[in-house]
C-alpha cells in the first residue's frame, strides 16, 4: 500500500496503533497549541475560570466557535443566541463526517459515536487523506482525534493560566494550520477534475467570504463546487463515451470504456506518478 510521505517512513510495518496515530497528529497539535493558548488567554480575560475554559474545550472542541462564544459572552449575548451561532458555525462538519462515513463501515455504533466527537477541520483532513491511501485504520484515526483533542484541551487550560507570558505569533507557528491545509490540498489534487473543483471552491469561497459575514461561505462554496464537479464529470463522461463510440465503429474492439473515461477524468492519462493511479483504483473500487 501507498504510504503518504509524512513523518514516518517505515513502509508496511504495522507498528503500534497508538504510535502511528500520534505521529500523524503532530502537525495538528503544533497548529492547535498556539490557538488553544490564545483561546485560554482570551477566555480568561473575559472572566472565565480555567475549569470553565477547559470544560468548554472538552465539550465543544471546535476552535472558531469557542472564540466567538467567548466574545459574545463578554458582549452580554444570551445563551440561546450563542448556541445558535455555534450550530451555524459548526454545521460544516456534516460534510466532513459524510465523507469519513464510508471508511467507518466496520466500526460499531458506540465507537463511531466517540469518533464523531473528534471530527474537526484538521482531523478530518488528515484522516481522510490517510484513509484514501489505504493504510489507515479507524483505531489509528481515533488515536489521532484524541491526541489532537488532548492538545486542544491542554493548551486552552494552559493559556488560561499562563498565556499572557507567551508573545502572540511567536516563531511563525500561527502558520502551521495554513501550511498543513495547503499540503493536504495538494494530496487531494489527484487529477484535472479535482484541480478544477478546487479552483472553483477557492474562488467561490473568497467571493462569498466577502459578501456574507460569518463562515457559511465554507459550506456554500464546498457544496456548489462539488456539485459543479459532479456535473463536469458526467458531462465529460458522456462526451468521452460519444467519442470512443465513434472510435469503436472503426475498430470493433471491445474497449473497456468505463476504465478509459475514468482514467481520462482522473488525469491519469496525462501521466502523473503511478502511485496516483493506484490510489484512484482503490477509491473507484470503494465507491462502487
Amino acid at each position: 500500500m501507498v504510504e503518504i510521505p509524512a513523518s514516518t517512513k517505515e513502509n508496511g510495518d504495522p507498528g503500534p496503533i497508538a504510535k502511528k496515530g500520534m505521529q500523524a497528529a503532530w502537525p495538528i497539535c503544533l497548529g492547535y497549541c498556539p490557538i488553544g493558548l490564545a483561546f485560554g488567554v482570551l477566555a480568561q480575560k473575559a472572566g472565565l475560570h480555567p475549569a470553565e475554559i477547559g470544560l468548554m474545550s472538552l465539550l465543544v472542541f471546535a476552535g472558531s466557535s469557542q472564540f466567538i462564544a467567548v466574545s459574545m459572552l463578554s458582549g452580554g449575548a444570551t445563551v440561546l443566541s450563542i448556541v445558535i451561532t455555534t450550530f451555524v458555525i459548526n454545521l460544516r462538519h456534516v460534510l466532513m463526517s459524510a465523507s469519513l462515513a464510508v471508511y467507518l463501515r466496520a466500526v460499531s455504533r458506540g465507537w463511531a459515536a466517540l469518533f464523531a466527537y473528534g471530527v474537526t477541520d484538521e482531523s478530518f483532513a488528515v484522516n481522510l487523506t490517510r484513509f484514501r491511501n489505504g493504510n489507515w485504520d479507524w483505531r489509528q484515526a481515533m488515536v489521532l482525534n484524541h491526541t489532537a483533542n488532548a492538545a486542544w484541551i491542554g493548551s486552552s487550560i494552559l493559556g488560561a493560566f499562563s498565556g499572557q507570558f507567551i508573545p502572540a505569533g511567536a516563531f511563525g507557528i500561527d502558520y502551521a494550520l495554513i501550511a498543513m491545509f495547503l499540503c493536504l490540498l495538494v494530496f487531494q489534487l489527484r487529477g484535472s477534475l479535482y484541480t478544477v473543483t478546487a479552483i472553483i471552491a477557492g474562488v467561490l469561497a473568497a467571493i462569498l467570504a466577502l459578501l456574507v459575514p460569518g463562515n457559511v461561505y465554507i459550506v456554500l462554496a464546498s457544496i456548489l463546487a462539488a456539485t459543479f464537479g459532479v456535473f463536469f464529470r458526467r458531462l465529460a463522461r458522456i462526451f468521452h463515451e460519444l467519442l470512443s463510440r465513434d472510435h469503436e465503429d472503426g475498430r470493433a474492439t471491445g474497449q473497456p470504456q468505463d476504465v478509459d473515461s475514468e482514467a481520462y477524468l482522473n488525469g491519469t492519462s496525462q501521466g502523473p506518478i503511478p502511485e496516483d493511479a493506484r490510489k484512484d483504483g482503490h477509491i473507484r473500487g470503494r465507491s462502487k
Binding site: 465543544v60 460544516r92 466527537y117 491545509f181 495547503l182 489534487l189 474562488v203 467561490l204 466577502l210
Partner: protein, 107 residues
C-alpha cells in the same frame, strides 16, 4: 465554581456541535450510497480544503475585504510549491512556519 447558566451554555454548544459530526456517520456508514452521491462526496474534501484556505489568504479584516498584500498569501506560494514537489506534510508545515517567521522578521 461553575455557574449553572454557563453549564447550560457549554452543554448546548457541545450538543449542536456534536450532532452534525455524528449524524452522517451514524446514518451513512451502513447504507449503500447512490453513485452520484458518492461521486459528490468524493469531491467534497478537495472543495472544503480549498474553501477553508483560499479566503484566509486573499481576504482580511472585519468586515472582510480583498487583500493581496498579506504575508500569508506570499508565503503560501513557496509553501504550496514545496508541498507539490515533496508531498511531505511535516516538511511543508516546517517550511511554512519558517518562511512566515522570516517574513515577519523582515517586515
Amino acid at each position: 465554581m461553575i455557574h449553572s447558566e454557563y453549564l447550560i451554555l457549554v452543554v448546548g454548544m457541545g450538543l449542536v456541535t456534536y450532532i452534525p459530526r455524528w449524524f452522517p456517520i451514524f446514518f451513512l456508514s451502513r447504507r449503500r450510497l447512490p453513485q452520484w452521491f458518492s461521486e459528490w462526496l468524493d469531491l467534497i474534501p478537495v472543495s472544503i480544503l480549498s474553501a477553508l484556505v483560499f479566503p484566509e489568504l486573499v481576504t482580511s479584516g472585519n468586515p472582510r475585504h480583498l487583500d493581496f498584500s498579506q504575508p500569508q498569501l506570499w508565503v503560501a506560494l513557496p509553501t504550496f510549491l514545496f508541498a507539490l514537489k515533496t508531498k511531505s506534510l511535516g516538511g511543508t508545515v516546517v517550511v511554512g512556519i519558517l518562511l512566515f517567521w522570516m517574513v515577519g522578521k523582515l517586515l
